[in-house]
Subunit: 152 residues, 4 copies
Amino acid sequence: MSDERFGVHVDVRVRFAETDAQGVVYHANFLVYCEVARTEYFRALYGELTADERRHGRDYDTTIVHAACDYRAPARFDDSLRIWCRVAELGRSSLTFAYRVARITDEQLICEARTVQVAISRATRKSTPLPSEFVSRVRAFEDSLSAGSRSA
Amino acid sequence: MSDERFGVHVDVRVRFAETDAQGVVYHANFLVYCEVARTEYFRALYGELTADERRHGRDYDTTIVHAACDYRAPARFDDSLRIWCRVAELGRSSLTFAYRVARITDEQLICEARTVQVAISRATRKSTPLPSEFVSRVRAFEDSLSAGSRSA
Amino acid sequence: MSDERFGVHVDVRVRFAETDAQGVVYHANFLVYCEVARTEYFRALYGELTADERRHGRDYDTTIVHAACDYRAPARFDDSLRIWCRVAELGRSSLTFAYRVARITDEQLICEARTVQVAISRATRKSTPLPSEFVSRVRAFEDSLSAGSRSA
Amino acid sequence: MSDERFGVHVDVRVRFAETDAQGVVYHANFLVYCEVARTEYFRALYGELTADERRHGRDYDTTIVHAACDYRAPARFDDSLRIWCRVAELGRSSLTFAYRVARITDEQLICEARTVQVAISRATRKSTPLPSEFVSRVRAFEDSLSAGSRSA
């Protein structure tokens, strides 16, 4: 179930609120699980800083421009799911995350997903390049994870 | 199913997303339906103004301090529900709404609810009196609704 | 804002519950709007029957295997949105819907989306061909819509 | 922040999906947090059994008939919240849970809540007494927690 390309993961328990009348997790909720993993990715990337501190002094926001999910198997109430997350692509102003959601008990793959975010200038509301500090940090982080995986 | 004390209503269709693995509307979602009705109440109260315009120039926000639901019967996917809404109490800085949710087809009462909101000064973040213009407007509106009901 | 290829639409008002701390509709909620449009599509397709009646006697369920959204512009609280919906592809056991979400007031395109559903046998839980009655009905419905659009 | 009467707790991080355009957790979501705590309560009560196993062989479901929240302070994106949970009342067929939600970092009380569930016979869909095995188990569990708290 681990995947050496995916350096960050977070575990969630399926909430009853997240199920639907088919008895499974409602499909849109996997995008919420991806958001939970993305938040943990940024926490891992910026260790010491809170979400507020990371945003402080930034002159851009990010906005999601694309999201896609491939549903492989249903998940049910109280399932323990592991969401793996990595940066799959870094563009001039865009950031693509890839995700894998699997059930922990039987390693069943549940969902694969992808989101694309774009940096938007707070002043102009137009897309703006990702800061080079951020790009270097992500590259170094992803490299360290690959190295870690290789050596593990 | 109509209730003369309830002057405003809005209809919703139960979305699949709102159901849970028991096959019924997840209980927390009735607070969302109440919010939909409350929004229509303010639209009826302020006819011509958009939500943005109503907020413009105001020096206070409102925040919900209490919410309670009594669930009378389950609602299911694709049910047409009518949510009735009225101001039940006006305090110095607080505003209490009462709600009734019923299924349209069989007039089955589904849920009764109540929310209490408090006006909070944007400057101090402390509770602040509701503007007298607002209070008069609500009183006149509720009176006109009662009168309308009586004459109907 | 109308699109002759899209025969069915439904309007929604953005609920406060659907917004997030960026002040816009949370991205996962567009999949819920798509579900609302899909439900209306089936209502239009099967006019006289309720969701329960449509399911009655069927020996298959459908499950969503893919969903993708392209976000074009943000939507905000109380925006009136129109969701257009059509069947874009009919496979042996799969059904692809395409969606366009636009704001009614300024015709701003907000989101384009696509979902793929697969028919699953209730007995075997494996994919099963869509019934020919269903396929013919969808084809006739889509044709009538195109004809209607052409003549309009 | 601990409260000796509350024997079970669970921690959640506020998801971006759970915030609203006021920048805080949307009020209805606290009922979801309560559900998460209630689920952990049953896990603690029935240690070894999964949710499915706990339900297996039971001839009743439970349904929520009342829920109420008092909101004390706002919670924000990425806040770590602790939800405390206990059985506050055991009726013939009803089960009342009390909850306290507090932010972990500053021990700020965020929300107090209460839900009432009723046991419903699967055969008749009418309320049915809680099984005496269940009642004894809850009483013993709550007693052990109080004892634990006293001795801690």
